[in-house]
Subunit: 139 residues, 4 copies
């Protein structure tokens, strides 16, 4: 299973008037996790773009909130690659409090392959992603 | 069916390097819609807080992206109240392009009732929400 | 004097843990004002780009905060064009509370003309801006 | 001279349609630097709040932009404490590209001491800040 874990400090500007991280910022945390995963395993936005001239827009996000993160804490972001035969990149996320390791939020994103010039979707698995899977022993 | 529709201009700062609205901003658009709904029907954050001393945090969000919004366009945000017997507030959203009326994004949020002091959840329907439903002929 | 005034509602996500609008969001309000000015007078980002292929990046911002805006209020954004012989676009801003009309923030931005392809600066007043000034009787 | 330096990766969501970091995000970078300084030297928002029950809102920001940061780069944020006899906290910032060490942005913030309950300003140097200065041999 391919997995990345990073830890980032909560920013003052991310706290809302209930004194917790505003829920919308977790979408950014998911992207932070995805980017760190991409850097670790060679599946970043730029890797895919430079190899195949494709962008990988998000088409679906789901977030379940369990326990809000507070100011002064850090977010531990765990990003798991979910293998699928489709022309899609699927990640699952778990965000934990750095302080007490409790689960704060979990969720999933689905990305597709798109030609950024004409916005056409790519319905077969593109070459770079195919090789990338092979390199990581994914069926 | 209770429904609110607002139209807001896309901000330059909301556009990402693919020249489309960054996907995370739609969470903000959902909140814009929810707030406008709250103002129209008396179900705003402050209404609930002032009546029952309760906050209404988001516990679940789902977003499906169909077609990205571009700079120069507006977002038409349609917010529908989904009635449920549970101690939850459920909204469904549809975001359309102001230019060609095409569907850009759809989704759903679930909110629960929470005591903001001790963060305890409220598992029965609180008084203000109960009366609010009656006022709007909701079972 | 060329001036635009718009009024926008404060968003829940803009409120920080001190229950006031987080100071960084005023930069966005300035941009909202600038965009509304651009739309009213034909000096938007896209107008300049389409006419002369130039971008107009910010090179200097100053903000003075007087009184924080609160949730439930609106921001009245007043954007004034400051004429200058230089190859620069200068705006002054005043942001007022919609509730009590008190001054919340004032400030200034300076923009220059840049070729977005090679990021070279343009040191003479470009054609579109020159004509624009004439059209508005500015020396 | 008291100084903190941190390095943070540029986020995809911080890039605008000109493929550079949107200018408003630098206000967040200044806050990142300020927070890291506060952690290193014991002058964080919570330190001051817990000691003297005071908040330290920003009343003035100035930013000068030199060279935009790009996606894939990091921001090196240098935060310098500027000593002053007034009841103010003054910081100067320099943001450099992690890649070529060129200066991207410089600026300054001024903060004052405020009672967060009634929003009254504190015009004399409060006890915690006075002791903090002594501890760091500042006149």
């Amino acid at each position: 299973m391919l997995k990345n874990t990073i830890e980032i400090p909560i920013r003052f500007s991310e706290i809302d008037s209930l004194r917790v991280v505003w829920h919308g910022h977790y979408v950014k945390f998911f992207e932070d996790g995805r980017e760190a995963f991409g850097k670790q395993y060679g599946l970043g936005y730029l890797d895919i773009f430079e190899a195949d001239n494709l962008a990988v827009p998000i088409v679906d996000i789901q977030l379940q909130y369990k326990k809000p993160l507070l100011y002064g804490d850090t977010a531990i972001i765990e990003t798991n690659f979910i293998n699928s035969p489709a022309a899609k990149i699927i990640f699952e996320y778990k965000i934990f409090s750095g302080k007490d390791k409790s689960l704060s939020c979990s969720g999933q994103t689905i990305q597709v392959f798109m030609n950024p010039k004409n916005m056409d979707l790519y319905i077969t698995v593109p070459p770079y992603f195919e090789e990338w899977k092979k390199r990581h022993d994914l069926p």
